[in-house]
């Protein structure tokens, strides 16, 4: 306990706390949207495509996250556009983008002279090294997403539930889809700092999977996902500190563990009831 208290006094740890809170909120909201609308695979494509931007940042000497934002948004809009216009199977298009982004990233980093510092933190994340800039960006995004969902909650829900019906009602479906997919891309990219490219998808889906065991309503899924996401991140942070393991992996491990425990509780509960 003493250990933990002294931990709280440390600056980097308070930053990590704030980062996990912001990550839980953004991923709680956006993840619920992704899971409900069944676009997890699209989000996976955006995630990996953004690695190309990180590589470009290294090569051209600007902040890799900036490159990731560019690649993320570009690929998100690309997927949105191509699956609608071009006669291309959506999953094939995404798989191609997925691999292309990774390939570009690898090529750029290979071409960059010398050692690529922090590369591992983009792949696996390191919540303990989030910078002030990261926190400011993540706070801004949290604000934008929270207000967008509060203002347009009904519209988002209805379009996600039945896009075709929304179109027959003359609602701005395309515009909403575009804004939402950009928010998905931004959420993914800014949370890369927290858990890394390889693990960010789980932060968008595991809290939702746990919540789905408790509720079948969109808004409750959002609140519960934020809660479980935060509990999981906290637990992961503490694990990572106590056993000196990478924080991203520890967070995901705690989340999966939490899912297992809750699921087992429900299974046991059901068995008892019978």
């Amino acid at each position: 306990m003493e250990n933990l208290m002294s931990l709280l006094a440390m600056n980097f740890f308070r930053n990590a706390l704030l980062a996990s809170l912001l990550a839980s909120i953004t991923c709680g909201i956006i993840g619920t949207y992704i899971v409900s609308r069944r676009i997890v695979f699209i989000s996976g494509g955006i995630t990996h495509a953004s690695f190309g931007g990180i590589g470009m940042g290294y090569y051209l000497g600007f902040d890799p996250i900036l490159g990731a934002v560019m690649f993320g948004i570009f690929s998100a809009l690309g997927i949105e556009f191509f699956t609608r216009k071009a006669d291309l199977r959506e999953d094939s298009a995404i798989a191609m983008l997925w691999a292309l982004g990774m390939a570009l990233g690898i090529i750029f980093i290979f071409l960059t002279p010398g050692y690529a510092p922090n590369l591992m933190s983009y792949l696996f994340g390191n919540i303990l090294t989030v910078s002030l800039t990261d926190l400011v960006l993540l706070s801004g995004l949290t604000l934008v997403i929270a207000s967008f969902f509060l203002l347009f909650y009904r519209m988002i829900l209805f379009i996600s539930f039945d896009e075709e019906f929304a179109l027959t009602n003359n609602t701005p479906v395309r515009l909403f889809n575009m804004i939402l997919i950009c928010l998905v891309a931004l959420t993914i990219v800014l949370n890369i700092r927290v858990v890394g490219i390889i693990l960010v998808m789980s932060l968008l889906t595991i809290p939702q999977a746990i919540s789905n065991l408790f509720t079948r309503y969109f808004h409750k899924m959002i609140y519960l996902s934020i809660f479980f996401g935060f509990v999981g991140s906290m637990a992961g942070l503490i694990f990572s500190y106590l056993y000196d393991i990478p924080s991203g992996a520890a967070i995901i491990f705690s989340l999966v563990l939490m899912y297992g425990v809750v699921k087992m509780y429900f299974v046991a509960h059901k068995a008892m009831a019978q």
Partner: protein, 258 residues
């Protein structure tokens, strides 16, 4: 003056409509006028263009040629007064949404992007759910409902905006017989107020409820009149014959039209 009281008021004119996806033309030169008191059954083989016709009517597909003209009474604000009941398998039944949320989503076009619902609209939605017998389960998630209950919710959603024309796409798939009969009785009652366009493969049942028949198979053959004669019954079988015998049925239809 008396002429203004004419029984049949045209709502929508479909004129020489050709629609399809890219180069794949599904419907060619289709014309149909829908009147205020119509109850049209749309029949035809799978892939014959029934759903495509609906999509063109709903504005989901742009015509390649021809046009769909909406008369003034069909337009309100920025949308057409059409209520749409899609095929149930277009719906994701695992989606986290409640029955009343589904029903209220029919009010979307009333410029309520941010605004709260009009209490009058909500009262009407509640009234509709009550009539359909789903008011008690309004707070349940759709994942917990039966096929028939989901259809009821979707029907409420289609009606909540008080449309002048109700369009239904295969409403009798995945529902039990009891609900099916109830649904058709409900439609007959609704037809006293609004026009109905019903797409169905179940020729036997719909023939007792609809007033006229449109057979869609790349083109459209309209059979006016509501008398169900044995000859007409034979004509209803046109889609089945088309599946097995190619182009023969069009001749059959023409014969029955005389």
């Amino acid at each position: 003056m008396l002429q203004n009281l004419t029984y049949m008021v045209p709502l929508i004119d479909i004129r020489h409509l050709t629609v399809g996806y890219d180069e794949n033309i599904i419907l060619t030169d289709v014309s149909l006028t829908i009147h205020n008191s119509d109850f049209i059954g749309v029949i035809g083989p799978n892939g014959g263009g029934k759903t495509t016709l609906l999509k063109a009517l709903l504005g989901l597909l742009k015509p390649l040629h021809g046009e769909v003209i909406f008369h003034d009474c069909m337009t309100e604000g920025n949308h057409h007064r059409i209520g749409y009941l899609p095929q149930i398998n277009n719906i994701d039944r695992k989606f986290p949404i409640s029955v009343s949320e589904v029903v209220n989503s029919g009010l979307m076009s009333k410029k309520q992007i941010i605004k709260r619902y009009d209490p009058k609209d909500l009262a009407f939605a509640a009234e509709l759910m009550n009539q359909m017998g789903i008011y008690e389960i309004r707070n349940k998630a759709i994942g917990e409902l039966s096929g028939g209950q989901i259809q009821r919710a979707l029907l409420c959603r289609a009606l909540v905006n008080q449309p002048k024309l109700l369009v239904l796409d295969e409403p009798n798939t995945y529902v039990d017989n009891r609900f099916e009969k109830e649904l058709y009785e409900k439609l007959r009652k609704l037809n006293e107020e609004i026009a109905i366009l019903l797409v169905s493969h179940d020729l036997g049942t719909i023939s007792t409820y609809v007033k006229s028949i449109a057979c869609v198979n790349h083109s459209l053959h309209y059979h006016p009149g509501n008398k169900i004669t044995p000859e007409l019954m034979e004509a209803y079988e046109c889609p089945i014959q088309i599946i097995s015998h190619g182009k023969i049925p069009h001749t059959v239809l023409n014969q029955h039209e005389q």
